[in-house]
Symmetry: C2
DNA sequence: TTTAGTCACTTTGTCGACAATCGGAGTTTC
DNA sequence: GAAACTCCGATTGTCGACAAAGTGACTAAA
């Protein structure tokens, strides 16, 4: 669902998807040079479609191109992530506010059920946080969908925010935040159920601010370590 | 400044720029089919660079592609514009809040000077609203820059928001809104000067909501007319 | 030893041609 | 007369090859 199309459409789309996946999961290291000919051969296609895919990825901010010097995987430094979380706070807050008036009762109930699944998942396997992480993204994406705002959905969901997934893969081991995060999610769903858009926005913004603090501390530790 | 690069770099970049300009100004009508071969010849280049440009424009949401059926200029319907203004409200509000703490005193002074220039411009020529319209964009972009958030700048400025310029070209004749808009701009600059981020955000959000109401009414009239 | 210059190689940018797919006109059949 | 089928033209998707720009190593001089 978060991964657009598995393996259909034009070669360019396939390449876009495969590269995005490789970048997000860290298979392609940050800052790594992307050689057109090499990648084209690995994917079994010509350089034309691959170049189009790189352009597409550039639009997603997953790669950075410089004329006559090729493409490199973006580098998620502290500043970039900080900027990302500020944008998230604004967009997801807005999504929450609108969703409170736009989602159907059934939508909200399903959101609650999603959280139930997360809860059992967390209790069963404290270690495998990855699932929660992707599940968490799912929660946020469902709210974006709830806003019925196609642009918000594009920005938060399928297209732009692969960066966020990339960040998650890097810092997915903060298991201690899964429980407060789930609790915050529940609060948000409650606010949505009460049709209180302002509160839902406030809670979402706090939730994202908290997530950023957590990530920020982790980066500090990493930088301290080396 | 709002138009990335005039005529340098790769052919693909040139094509991107020219097409974006043509779409924004309405030279290419909404929903118009974009024939690759024809455009390539008109720009004096092969189809390769042009296809890359179309991919880029797709990322900017200026064109919509469907596999095996080519690209068409996007259609700015009421829903799309409504979505756009909601996103703007969230992003520019956030930009304002951050800018209040990040802009230098000099930056803010320059922003005030920009408004002075707008004022004299409006008084001189009530008719030529276009200049104000682009100038207004400039005001908003300067605040995005003031946030020192590269992602906000990208989203609001150079890249994504060509859609907004497109909208302006369509509905640039609401001269009656230039004066209240300028007054609202002044209020925002005052809030920034006082380093009151919360107020600046509030004012900006209201300003954008007001702009949307104005545009929305205009669309209503248009639809009524036909 | 360091630095400047040159040269060859690698990689990107671009083009033209071929294959696959889609839309529509014309024809056939019920 | 209307619906479905077929075929043809047009357009998109893809590939291989060539030209241009950048990168790095090697040589030679200070």
């Amino acid at each position: 669902m978060l991964i657009p199309q598995p393996q259909q459409g034009t070669l360019s789309d396939i390449a876009t998807h495969k590269l995005a996946q490789s970048i997000v999961t860290g298979e392609l290291a940050q800052g790594q040079k992307l050689n057109e000919a090499e990648l084209a051969e690995r994917f079994g296609m010509g350089r034309g479609p691959l170049r189009e895919a790189l352009r597409h990825l550039e639009g997603m901010r997953l790669v950075k191109r410089t004329p006559n010097a090729g493409a490199r995987v973006v580098i998620l430094d502290r500043k970039t992530l900080s900027d990302l979380y500020a944008v998230r706070e604004a967009l997801e807050g807005m999504a929450c506010r609108i969703a409170a008036s736009q989602m159907s009762d059934e939508d909200i109930a399903q959101l609650g059920a999603l959280l139930d699944r997360h809860e059992t998942q967390i209790e069963k396997q404290g270690g495998k946080v990855y699932a929660q992480s992707e599940g968490d993204l799912d929660f946020h994406y469902q709210i974006a969908r709830g806003s019925r705002n196609q642009m918000l959905m594009d920005l938060l969901g399928s297209e732009q925010y692969q960066l966020l997934r990339m960040c998650r893969y890097r810092t997915s081991r903060n298991a201690e935040r899964t429980k407060p995060a789930l609790s915050q999610h529940r609060q948000i769903v409650d606010a949505l159920a009460n049709r209180d858009g302002e509160l839902a926005e406030l809670l979402m913004r706090r939730h994202i601010q908290g997530a950023w603090r957590s990530i920020s501390e982790m980066i500090d530790k990493e930088e301290q370590a080396k």
